[in-house]
């Protein structure tokens, strides 16, 4: 028998390692348009100790290792570019602590967004965490590893990585280290005031270590929810409208979107505003203040609020939004991938026009939009292109459109987020040489054998 296989089986148990063709097939690809690459093994650890042993073995044998959560990133970041081990983290899904008094939770990295959400709803209904619109099996660890954002990113401080209060990570050497307050005292309340080493693992796509535990900020969960939909035809007024609403500080989530379907929406810019409150009185006040903030637009008849039927409100107040996954069926083809570019709010009109140009050039359909992050410090502008998995030509076209979109986003002054290997190249080409040098040196230090998700965040020769 393959000795590596046997060694891995000795660590995790033979039920949790596979090199069968079926597992290798599924773990060689994701839902997007990036090409498949086979791993050699799929491994599912159950504890930090098991992760340490697997990583130490991989390091000794110089086997690449790719951490994987929900594998929902869509841009191929869990596809093992150089083979090796795909480390499926979803067995490590214990919720270790919820500190109600200090508003934080400590979870294992493979905990799904959905499970944490359900757990808080049941055991700590006054608290919630920020949820991405990814399917609920996406993991907390995977989302942190790529600087994800979610339904509290507008109101509660920004990217999900900014909500992290501490990490436990396993380094390529097999060592496990704690980062943040948990490194010094037995509580996970903050990354300050000590040097912030957690940043060495967030946004790195698993290239610096395996995140095994996460401390996460929790936020109040008011009982009442409502949603408003503002509509305009003038994309150039979007920035002003958004800031008027943001500056009221009355909204939870704020997202701008456009879609050519249904046809009667084409050409309209929509802004969805989620509002939460503890009482009817508070809700009324919040809605009123938001309405007031855009009164000038309403009075000039340039824009206005769309009345929403209750059934639609029910759909829209939920997090995550299930209908985003439904987008995969637009082409009756089970696929979509998106460029999510982080950019300033003021870039929205330009970003939107660029999207129209690219989609019309390639004759593809789209959904575009932007979620406000950090009270308007930036947005995550997405260009989502559906494709038909059974049509290789269509896949090629969409892949091309995505590449062009990445370039365009950079041209506009944004930066593609969780981007494909090719998108990473575009970023690295533009990055200050000193910054890239520092990234490379840090990686060499942390991972001298280059086993951690190789191919990512490195200039391709």
């Amino acid at each position: 028998m393959d000795t590596i296989y046997k060694k891995i089986a000795d660590i995790v148990g033979s039920n949790y390692v596979s090199n069968a063709a079926e597992e290798l097939y599924i773990y060689s690809r994701d839902q997007g348009v990036q090409p498949a690459r086979l791993p050699d093994y799929v491994v599912m650890p159950n504890s930090t100790e098991e992760v340490q042993k697997i990583v130490a073995l991989a390091n000794k044998e110089k086997i690449p290792i790719v951490p994987m959560g929900g594998a929902l990133v869509l841009s191929g970041l869990t596809i093992p570019q150089r083979g090796g081990i795909v480390l499926d983290m979803k067995r490590m899904n214990r919720i270790l602590e919820v500190n109600e008094k200090s508003h934080y939770a400590v979870v294992e990295a493979g905990t799904s967004q959905g499970m944490l959400q359900a757990y808080l709803k049941k055991h700590h209904p006054k608290l919630k965490h920020s949820v991405p619109d990814a399917p609920p099996v996406a993991t907390i660890g995977g989302n942190i590893a790529i600087h994800g954002s979610g339904h509290l990113s507008q109101s509660e401080g920004g990217f999900h990585t900014e909500m992290v209060t501490g990490l436990e990570v396993v380094l390529a050497s097999g060592e496990a280290v704690k980062l943040g307050s948990c490194s010094t005292v037995p509580k996970w309340f903050s990354r300050a005031p000590i040097p912030d080493l957690a940043g060495l693992f967030m946004g790195w796509n698993g290239t610096t270590g395996v995140i095994t535990k996460i401390g996460l900020k929790l936020f109040p969960s008011p009982k009442l929810k409502d949603v408003m939909m503002f509509m305009t035809e003038d994309v150039d007024s979007i920035t002003d409208i958004l800031f008027r609403i943001i500056d009221t500080e009355m909204a939870e989530d704020i997202a701008f979107f456009v879609s050519p379907k249904p046809a009667y929406f084409e050409g309209y810019q929509l802004i969805m505003i989620s509002v939460v409150a503890n009482s009817e009185k508070e809700m009324k006040l919040r809605l009123e203040l938001i309405r007031e903030s855009v009164r000038e637009y309403i009075d000039s008849k340039e824009a206005g609020f769309l009345p929403l039927p209750p059934y639609m409100k029910v759909k829209l107040v939920g997090a995550p939004q299930k209908n985003l996954s439904e987008f995969a069926d637009v082409m009756k083809g089970g696929g979509f991938e998106y460029v999510g570019a982080i950019m300033p709010v003021e870039s929205i009109p330009e970003a939107y026009r660029a999207g129209l140009e690219i989609t019309s050039k390639h004759d593809i359909t789209y959904s575009m939009g932007a979620r406000i992050v950090g009270r308007g410090s930036c947005v995550m502008f997405y260009y989502a292109y559906p494709f038909n998995r059974a049509d290789s030509k269509n896949i090629e076209t969409v892949a091309k459109a995505l590449e062009e979109t990445n370039e365009k986003a950079l041209e506009i002054g944004g930066i593609p987020w969780k981007t494909e290997i090719s998108g990473q190249q575009l970023i690295l080409e533009r990055m200050e040489p000193g910054t890239y040098k520092m990234m490379t040196e840090i990686r060499k230090l942390l991972d001298p054998n280059g086993i951690m998700n190789p191919g990512n965040w490195e200039v391709q020769s």
Partner: protein
């Protein structure tokens, strides 16, 4: 593979909604819960099926294990995000099994089960003459012209736990004054799980045999013990020429005869486990709860995963007989009984003989016998009368 299915397999996005219940509490797909590889989720299965049909992977033993580990519980159907494919998911998995059966590429326990079904007519390889022994001493008439036929099925006829359940239900129906008879040794397997395991030909044979006898005896209304039989007779038999008015026994007790059902008092906290073939397959969630709720003293406590979100006991889709999923901490039945204990209930109520046995065994495996016992709805009503 039917063209209708082949045409939509590529439309699965493999987004993973299918792994969870709609309240996201925990993995709710028994095969995925047990194995944890993406391949064992419904999305994984869809993608593998496409790869297999395209010739990208071969008909390996692993592939067979992956396909035959599905318990057809329909959690994926409930949770899937894609409205245009969700309803077809389990049908597609069954169609894939049909293709595998046709190629004789099935795991040994599936082969053994199907062999026993075709030779003995039951999975226990017991004589047909023993089909009615469960009723011995109960004074239940053979069906002649009574209002209802009580259809017992394989597990109720031959399995110890199933027989106990059949006796409870028959006793309660008699005491409620329901006019019914049984077929005894003339009953044939309903074929529900044979169909779920992909042996369409054998299923058809069994269905036709049953339909022939039922029509010959002039049966119009049927009460079934098992939700599996209920499903086959209600939803599948009409296509094979069998048109009957079918009820699951809890519908008779809970909805039709709740007032006349003799009951006493039982001071107990009870939690009800929804059988997939009654709940998600047939949308019946309330009848068993009405029956239980009508007993004075009973406090009904719900598990977090209930009704459309119920975690299957792991015995559906033929797995009760083939045991491809096996036991262990991550087996659906063992997870389920722990969830039942969390409600504080001392009785875990069931309405399916397969669930009864799966969960009863799981209580033993988890050493929870001190905390909770498994009882079927009729048994609970009977207990209240003691």
């Amino acid at each position: 593979m039917k063209q209708e299915y082949a045409d939509i397999i590529h439309r699965c996005f493999r987004c993973g909604w299918c792994k969870l219940p709609t309240n996201y509490q925990d993995f709710n797909c028994p095969a995925y819960l047990k194995y944890r590889f993406e391949t064992f989720s419904s999305g994984g299965r869809m993608w593998l099926l496409r790869a297999w049909l395209n010739g990208d992977i071969t008909t390996s033993e692993r592939l067979q294990q992956i396909f035959f580990s599905c318990v057809t519980c329909k959690n994926c159907v409930e949770a899937c995000a894609l409205p245009h494919i969700k309803d077809k998911l389990v049908d597609i998995f069954i169609a894939a099994r049909e293709d595998l059966v046709e190629k004789s590429a099935v795991p040994p326990p599936v082969r053994d089960y199907l062999k026993a079904m075709s030779i003995s007519g039951n999975p226990y390889k017991k004589p047909q003459a023993e089909r009615g022994t469960w009723a011995e001493g109960l004074d239940i008439p053979k069906y002649t012209d009574q209002e209802y036929l009580f259809f017992v099925g394989d597990v109720g006829s031959y399995d110890e736990v199933g027989m106990k359940m059949a006796r409870s239900v028959a006793t309660l129906l008699s005491d409620t004054g329901v006019s019914f008879g049984i077929l005894g040794e003339d009953e044939t397997s309903d074929g529900n799980d044979v169909k779920a395991l992909g042996e369409a030909g054998l299923y058809e044979h069994l269905a036709k045999q049953n339909i022939g006898i039922l029509n010959e005896r002039g049966v119009k209304k049927i009460i079934t013990l098992s939700p599996h039989g209920y499903n086959a007779i209600k939803n599948e038999y009409p296509e094979a020429g069998g048109n009957f008015e079918v009820y699951h026994y809890t519908q008779v007790l809970g909805l039709m005869m709740n007032d006349t059902m003799p009951k006493g008092t039982l001071n107990a906290k009870v939690t009800f486990h929804d059988p997939c073939y009654l709940g998600r397959w047939n949308d019946e969630y309330w009848a068993p709860r009405f029956a239980l709720g009508s007993i004075p003293g009973i406090e009904l406590a719900e598990m977090d995963r209930n009704m459309k979100n119920a975690l299957c006991c792991g015995g559906g889709g033929g797995n009760f007989f083939t045991d491809i999923l096996g036991t262990g901490k991550d087996s659906a039945a063992q997870v389920r009984v722990s969830e039942a204990v969390e409600t504080g209930a001392e009785i875990l109520a069931v309405a399916c003989p397969l669930c009864y046995k799966m969960l009863d065994d799981a209580v033993k495996a988890e050493d929870l016998g001190e905390k909770i016992r498994v009882m079927d709805v009729a048994e609970i009503v009977n207990e209240s009368r003691k």
